[in-house]
């Protein structure tokens, strides 16, 4: 434990001032392999996501309304799965690859199952299983990224991974609609191709991502659940988790942002479906740049600046100015927010979790953030009902500014102020 502990300490310092020559160091092959796995898997899953409403309504003749009722319950379950995935990956001296592989595998198997499910309940179960796979794999995958890159280049490594991931998410719908165009009611073909692509993702993981580091942790020191829980006694991780949680409580869900964009800025209906693409494009373009910046000026600074971008987006949504460029600006800021926070938070959290508990630690931060965002959605929806959309957004903006200011004061040790 002592060894891992001291290494984490150096990681944190490495983040501050990386040797000039190291910054140009080549990206670890594992990061590229994991990026490829995520890219391929996102093509597969976004293919299904893109055609699912169409499939339910025109393919099966089902009414998709009321489908999201179980989402709330499922979010809680998903959080538990994520924590379990993180802990399982740490046990046995780093089974990250195999737990992540299990997660990717479950999601892959779900695709052909969609062909067999013809009514709402089985489809709901298949989608829940798909998301269980995603919950299981996220923390071990991020742990692998952080363990295979040097502390000084982690921001960039996560940036590259997130950019590749987002590229896959943008490609998926294109492939799906191309198949629908080439066929008649080709949903079966979409699901089959999606399955083949998902299998490819699992294969790349199995073949090109190195396995666990059995040599680094002796068997008797294998992490226990208690050790994982004891992570919260570390001041730095507690602060990071606390801040992620606080800021998550003031992060309005994506669908609300798009709804507000349309209502407040009058985005035409035909563009509505393209709004998430705007966010994704900005995320894709900025992820690597901001990841590198985080390596250079400090992860916490970039992380908080990302929330500043989100705050600015809220402010623009609150103004009564209706310029034509405004929706683009809001989407760019929204994508920038993700680019500056999603991978960067993982890089920052990696700095204060020992190697042996990396997956559990990252799962903890992710889960805290996800639950806080879910709570925010509920609160925001309630505020909307009582006070209307403008007041609800103003409230969220004030909360975000307050939380960001608080986190600026509470920055983890080892990060220098900008």
């Amino acid at each position: 434990m002592y060894l891992a502990d001291s290494r984490a300490r150096t990681s944190a310092q490495g983040a501050v001032r990386s040797p000039a020559g190291r910054r140009r160091a080549a990206l670890a092959p594992t990061v590229l392999a994991l990026g490829t796995v995520s890219l391929v898997t996102d093509v597969s899953s976004e293919m299904v996501t893109a055609v699912l409403p169409l499939y339910l309504v025109t393919g099966l003749g089902l009414s998709p309304l009321g489908f999201g009722l179980l989402d709330g319950i499922y979010n809680g379950f998903s959080a538990l799965v994520r924590l379990a995935g993180g802990h399982l990956a740490d046990r046995g001296g780093g089974r990250h690859k195999w737990v992540a592989g299990l997660g990717y595998g479950i999601s892959a198997v779900c695709k052909p199952l969609l062909l067999l499910a013809h009514s709402l309940t089985p489809i709901g179960i298949v989608l829940a299983a798909d998301r269980t796979g995603k919950g299981l794999r996220t923390a071990p995958r991020d742990a692998l990224i952080s363990l295979s890159s040097t502390p000084g280049t982690r921001g960039r490594a996560f940036g590259v991974h997130r950019a590749m991931d987002t590229a896959g998410a943008l490609l998926g719908p294109l492939v799906a609609f191309w198949i629908l165009r080439a066929t008649v009611d080709g949903y079966d073909a979409v699901f089959t191709v999606s399955f083949c692509v998902a299998v490819l993702g699992v294969l790349v993981l199995v073949l090109f991502v190195p396995g666990g580091r059995h040599d680094t942790v002796p068997a008797r020191q294998r992490p226990t659940l208690r050790a994982a829980l004891a992570l919260l006694r570390r001041r730095d991780l507690r602060r990071i988790t606390g801040c992620a949680l606080l800021l998550g409580l003031a992060t309005v869900g994506d669908s609300f942002v798009y709804l507000l964009l349309q209502r407040r800025l009058g985005v035409p209906d035909r563009w509505f479906a393209l709004l998430p693409l705007g966010t994704a494009a900005a995320f894709l373009l900025l992820a690597v740049v901001l990841g590198r910046l985080a390596d250079r000026v400090g992860r916490w600074t970039v992380f908080l600046a990302g929330h500043g971008a989100l705050l600015l987006a809220y402010a623009l949504l609150l103004t009564s100015w209706h310029g034509t460029g405004l929706p683009y600006l809001v989407l760019a800021l929204h994508g920038g927010f993700y680019a500056a926070t999603d991978g960067v938070l993982m890089a920052a959290a990696s700095d204060c979790v020992p190697d042996a508990l990396r997956s559990s630690g990252l799962a903890l931060v992710q889960t805290g953030q996800a639950l806080a965002r879910f709570a925010c959605s509920l609160l925001f929806g309630a505020a909307w009902t009582v006070w209307g959309d403008r007041a609800a957004l103003a409230g969220a903006a004030v909360a975000l500014a307050g939380c960001a200011a608080f986190c600026l004061v509470l920055r983890p040790r080892g990060e220098v102020p900008a």
Binding site: S63, L70, S255, W384
Partner: protein, 339 residues
């Protein structure tokens, strides 16, 4: 394993996966050929002029396989399963009244499908064109032909997301002025203004006064029948558990689908008629779950679609709860009786 053998495994796996993927796409595209050939024993369909005026005509989307699949077709109202005249215009959803039609159709773009609504004159010429933000669900024209409405499903955008919403639009067919979403209207529930982010509207139906309409409002997991006022831009809740209302020709009753407890989640609806004065509900004789916005053939008869071999078939049932349902036409959906 060496890098070389790993690459070898990957390449062979890619070859197998690509073959499976290609086979599935080819299999699905071969379906196109089959569907372009008329099926034996199916309705006869021939090209010809179709007009949205003239009593005793029934116009619907033809779903029979063949070259006129998905086109608007007209039949005599007295012989709905007889030979069909195809107009050459493809619509996913359709409705017409008093020489005005609304046609919701898919536009196959380079990136993905988009949808649009066409307002048609009596000779099926496009008068106005609007973007529809999602998958078309319901279409309706007011008895006067002066207003048209449509509903679309707008999909969720999260990973394996399951949150969907609906958007209902109303257009003045004379001026072309569009109300893109009924969510802009003030909602009055129990005498007070009601606001919520989870408000959804669908299934608009119009009265003959060019001012009043009815629709479904969903919020907080419940549905309501609302009466809308186009001039004051308000909707007022009238009755709970009403979806896809359809106003009778005399404006006194609403046919609708009601969610009946104890039925399976996939097929939860039964057809009912609600008397707007007494709010008395009458269950109709159709024993199956109906997911359609019914149309009134006349003051006593309702027509609606149920799933069939080629997508959907049309059925009719008396509006007073008596009798039994009868299939009137196969491979047809979105009917409109012209008067």
């Amino acid at each position: 394993m060496t890098v070389r053998s790993r690459v070898l495994v990957l390449v062979s796996a890619v070859a197998v996966l690509a073959a499976v993927a290609l086979a599935s796409v080819l299999h699905a595209s071969a379906r196109a050929d089959r569907r372009d050939r008329p099926q034996a024993g199916g309705p006869r369909v021939a090209s010809g002029p179709v007009a949205l005026r003239g009593a005793g005509r029934l116009v619907f989307r033809n779903m029979a396989w063949g070259p006129h699949r998905d086109e608007l077709t007209a039949v005599p109202a007295g012989d709905p399963d007889g030979p069909r005249t195809a107009a050459g215009l493809k619509c996913l959803r359709f409705h017409a009244a008093s020489g005005t039609g609304v046609c919701l159709q898919a536009v196959h773009g380079p990136v993905s499908d988009t949808y649009r609504a066409l307002i048609l004159d009596a000779r099926l010429r496009t008068v106005h064109r609007y973007d529809v933000p999602g998958i078309p669900s319901r279409a309706r024209v007011s008895p006067t032909g002066h207003f048209a409405a449509w509903t679309a499903f707008v999909g969720g955008d999260s990973y394996a997301g399951t949150d969907f919403s609906t958007r209902a639009a109303i257009v003045d067919t004379r001026s072309g002025e569009l109300i893109p979403s009924l969510e802009a209207f003030r909602i009055v529930r129990d005498g007070r203004t009601y606001r919520s982010a989870d408000v959804n509207f669908w299934g608009v139906t119009f009265a003959a006064d060019d001012r009043t309409f009815y629709a479904t409002l969903a919020t907080g997991g419940r549905t309501y029948l609302v009466r809308g006022d186009l001039r004051r831009r308000t909707v007022t809740t009238l009755h709970a558990n009403v979806e896809c209302p359809s106003l009778s020709p005399d404006g006194t009753r609403v046919a609708y689908k009601k969610r009946v407890s104890g039925l399976p989640k996939d097929a939860p609806w039964r057809l009912y008629v609600l008397d707007l004065r007494t709010l008395r509900e009458t269950p109709l004789a159709e024993p199956r779950s109906v997911d359609d916005q019914a149309v009134w053939k006349d003051a006593r008869t309702l027509v609606y679609a149920l799933p069939g071999d080629y997508g959907a078939d049309l059925y009719q049932v008396p509006a007073d709860g008596s009798g039994r349902p009868r299939r009137i036409s196969r491979a047809a959906v979105s009917p409109a009786y012209l008067g």
